[in-house]
Amino acid sequence: MKKFTLLAALTLFATPHLTLAHEDHDRDDPGRHRHMNASEFISAGFAAAALIGVVGYLALRRRGSRQN
């Protein structure tokens, strides 16, 4: 449960919040093609990489506790 909470919190934290600001701008023109800018791209990349790192760490920790 703790691990799940940790993952959920991280996912929420990692959601590129800048996208929300963009959606406000795009609301006037719903049919407009949307795109991410560089900073959002970096946020999303960081989030994905952090998630991989956290999952890897938890797997390593679980394996360590099983061996003990």
Partner: protein, 312 residues
């Protein structure tokens, strides 16, 4: 009112001397307030350092409570708190009185900018007034590892400024290393020396920008390593953990050189479009894999207790 009651309840339950928690919380609140009043003082490093110290102290074994040299007041004494706020007011006044050009140097990479960084760190100094010197010595002995971790956070976390300052030299180092590693694998690989060096190949030229410095990888490493340290703190061998942090930073730096080399090599062997389109995402994936490799190599080593703490 409800918030302060809830905060008091939380502090009561922590296995840390209450005066220490209140001291850190007061220092944190005052540092935040300073930055609101004088935006030129903005820096996340002192805030992160105080938070790291507080969080890690609460994660330590809690034997500090039983080894207190004498009964201490649960809160810092009133006149000390007044002195603490007076010191903060003096700091704010000094920064206000500084010439506007000096305040504008906040974040600049010249001598004034670095000097102003020390002023930003000075928001931590008034904290010393809150407790007697004897108590600080006791805390330094009891929470030596936590203070050391906070110091590491203060000077190394979010190292963008250091990277920008070192870039003229470091950029050339990265460029030369990539050229050296890629040269046997890419025919006619050239090197254009500039502030942002370029590696010229038959199909793809790669310019190494500041954002390719590996700073993102180091920031990712900082965040993930901090998570591991927070979760494992009571079990960690503190000396090895400190060593592992610096080994990890070096590993991410070397990993970044390998990452750029792989882009140069693959980009000049038929994958130019793919590299141009996906190098940012591939970079993040690469950094997370380097971190996992680093962690799987050092995890058990960091958890091994030092001979002094090993059970007989």
């Amino acid at each position: 009112m409800c918030f302060s009651l809830a905060l008091s309840n939380i502090v009561e339950k922590l296995r840390v001397p209450r005066f220490f928690v209140w001291t850190l919380l007061l220092a944190l609140a005052a540092a935040v307030a300073d930055q609101f009043v004088v935006p030129a003082l903005f820096s996340t490093a002192p805030l992160c350092a105080l938070l790291a110290c507080l969080v890690l102290a609460t994660r330590s074994h809690g034997d500090a409570l039983t080894s207190l040299p004498s009964p201490s007041a649960p809160y810092p004494v009133a006149w000390r708190v007044l002195g603490f706020f007076a010191a903060h007011a003096a700091l704010i006044w000094i920064v206000y009185r500084l010439d506007a050009s000096v305040s504008r140097a906040s974040g600049a990479l010249n001598g004034v900018g670095w000097a102003f960084l020390l002023v930003k760190f000075a928001v931590l100094a008034p904290m010393l007034v809150l407790l007697p010197w004897r108590t600080w010595r006791y805390l330094a002995r009891t929470y030596a590892a936590e203070f050391a971790a906070a110091a590491v956070v203060l000077v190394t976390f979010f190292p963008r400024r250091v990277m920008e300052a070192l870039w003229p030299v470091y950029g050339q180092f990265v460029g030369r290393c990539v050229h050296l590693l890629g040269w046997p694998l890419v025919s006619n690989l050239g090197y254009v020396k500039a502030l942002y060096p370029t590696l010229t190949g038959p199909s793809l030229d790669v310019t190494i920008l500041l954002s390719c410095s590996g700073i993102n990888g180091i920031e990712l490493f900082d965040a993930l390593f901090a998570l591991v340290v927070f979760c494992e703190w009571p079990r960690l061998n503190k000396r090895r953990t400190l060593a592992a942090y610096f080994i990890g930073v070096v590993a991410m730096t070397l990993g970044n050189i390998l990452r750029i080399t792989s882009f140069v090599v693959l980009g000049n062997h038929g994958f130019a479009d793919f590299i141009a389109r996906f190098h940012v995402n591939a970079g993040w994936l690469f950094f997370s894999l380097v971190f996992l490799f680093f962690l799987s190599s050092t995890y058990r080593w960091m958890l091994t207790p030092s001979p002094a703490n090993r059970p007989a």
